[in-house]
Amino acid sequence: MTLQVKQLSKQINKHQIISDVTFNWAPGEIIGLVGRNGVGKTTLFRTMVNHYVADAGQVLVDDHPIQQAPTRQREIFFLDTQYNFLSNYSLKELPDFYSLVYPKFDRQRYGELLRHFDLNAGDQYRRLSKGMRAMVNIILALTSNATYLILDEPFDGLDVIVRENIATMVIDEVADQRKGFLISSHDLNELDGLSDRVLLLKDSQLAHDYNLEAIRETAKKIQLVLPDKTIPAVLKEHSHLIRVSGRVLVVVITDYTDAIDQQLRALHPVLLEELPLTLEDLFRANLAHDTGYQLLK
């Protein structure tokens, strides 16, 4: 089973918003989609699910183009957080709509999750707080039992508790490899520890498709305290400086080898320790020069 996005393009008011976007997505994957605000992440989602008519390209589910086989679209769940119809209904009415569209919609679990997160089924969606709405959105996504779940900025503006709840639910859900998530964010920290693959959208195109596990196998983040303030040649040549504070350096070395390790130890640093490597570090090290990632911050 796989979902393929093939050469998808969309122009709005004569501006090319997404151009020739191609990627594959399999159940079990949690893919992060990152890019600056306004780069076209939401447009990509809306075009994928047919809210916007694509100028070119197609989306295929198990090799069936959804334009020709619309029922395949039921394998994809996307709830537009900006434009949705939920505001006019109470939470208990929503399954009446979703169960007609998603054949495997789990009403019982929907009710259980509402109760678990102290959400009142009788409340109108429009009267909920931002965090509560985000929870309802994720509950609808999970209980739809669609294979491919698209979440657009699900953590935006939420407190840490709600974020953790959502992240935990997402991770639990992919454990059996039957579902996949595509999660957009303009903040890399939100995707840290969640995504195993990251797509970077830049200048209307998919600039990079990164497998984070592969990168993490060879990359290291090191904190060094050197005897003097001079930055040694080995670091200039092989590392990306994350932070410099006097004699204390934090660097990311994307291709860490034994030879580099020996050269570093030969400097007789006062301290040489490995730090946890974050998604943000990787992007700084890999992409700062050629993707404009620094502009994300």
């Binding site: 809306r46 047919n50 916007y52 029922t71 679209q73 949705n84 119809f85 006019n88 569209v101």
Partner: protein, 315 residues
């Protein structure tokens, strides 16, 4: 599959159908009560329905319209609300990603809307006729005849269908509710101008048809049905290509802007030209419609340029 989409559309619009039905019957009751009150002021024997009900012609008197004008307004509102509500409430987003083909959604919504209209019309007529049937005093006669009823109902239903189709189609291509209502009111009122042109041509023998009253009614009904069919089929094509990035703009299909502009200018100028008294007024109507149409259809760009110019001037 069809069963599910039928349920989905019904679930979505059932409140609108019920509300429109209740409102329609309420108006029918109110009209009847007013008529009954007026009739109670009369003396002696009185026939509520005139003998002309026996002819194959549209029957319409102030005391008893066989097909109330209100039912045309109900169809007008129903067509508008059904298509516009899904756009403004963002239900189209849900429908378009629902896994039902757009054509299936479109035709299901259409037949449900038309069926609802038919039910509302039937119930309203039943209430309207029923109240007279049971409430009229013995001195007031209430005698109906099939020729007048069938003609009036057929003509009325065709008109309702036309009103429904006109609003349905307009709500499909116009993305701003306020502007849509203004446009539709303007166009609906202008139809009297079209009717006047037809009457003028017919009475002058310009058409060469020499139609009787009944023939004019059936021709009019046929025209409405034909127009409705064209609008429904054209609407199906457009619905298939509806892309929601233009939500909130006046025209949801930017490619229609120039054709709409040309049709608007020709239509307004044509009506004024036929109904006007001199060439001067035709030229004025052409200039006004050309300027107004241009401003109306291109106003986002014009207003943006205006704001830029003003801020530069102030800055």
């Amino acid at each position: 599959m069809q069963n599910q989409v039928t349920k989905l559309i019904w679930r979505r619009h059932r409140r609108t159908f019920v509300l429109a039905g209740l409102l329609s019957m309420l108006v029918a009751v109110a009209n009847d009560l007013i008529t009954l009150h007026g009739l109670n002021q009369t003396q002696g024997h009185y026939e509520l329905v005139k003998a002309s009900i026996n002819h194959w012609e549209v029957y319409n008197t102030s005391n008893f319209p066989a097909y109330s004008f209100w039912l045309l307004i109900v169809a007008w509102l129903l067509g508008l609300v059904l298509m516009n509500q899904d756009l403004t409430d963002n239900f189209n987003q849900f429908l378009f990603s629902s896994g039902f083909s757009r054509q299936r959604v479109y035709w299901t919504k259409l037949w449900q809307g038309l069926l609802a209209m038919l039910v509302i019309v039937s119930l309203t007529l039943a209430v309207q006729y029923g109240i007279f049937w049971v409430s009229l005093p013995a001195r007031i006669g209430f005698h109906l005849a099939w020729p007048g009823l069938i003609t009036s109902w057929g003509y009325g239903l065709a008109g309702s269908l036309g009103m429904f189709a006109m609003c349905w189609f307009a709500a499909l291509i116009v993305g701003q509710t306020g502007a849509l209502v203004v446009t539709l009111i303007g166009f609906t009122l202008s139809l009297s101008g079209v009717a006047a042109i037809f009457e003028q041509l017919d009475s002058n023998g310009g058409l060469g048809w020499n139609l009787s009253g009944a023939q004019v009614a059936w021709l009019s009904a046929g025209s409405w049905v034909m127009a409705a069919l064209i609008l429904f089929i054209w609407g199906a094509y457009l619905y298939q290509h509806l892309s929601l990035e233009h939500n909130g703009e006046y025209l949801l299909f930017p490619g229609l802007r120039v054709p709409v502009y040309i049709v608007f200018v020709v239509y307004v100028t044509g009506i004024n030209g036929f109904n006007g008294t001199d060439t001067y007024s035709t030229i004025i109507s052409f200039l006004v419609s050309a300027a107004f149409g241009y401003f109306w259809l291109w106003r986002p760009g014009i207003m943006a340029k205006w704001h830029r110019w003003r801020s530069q001037r102030e800055g």
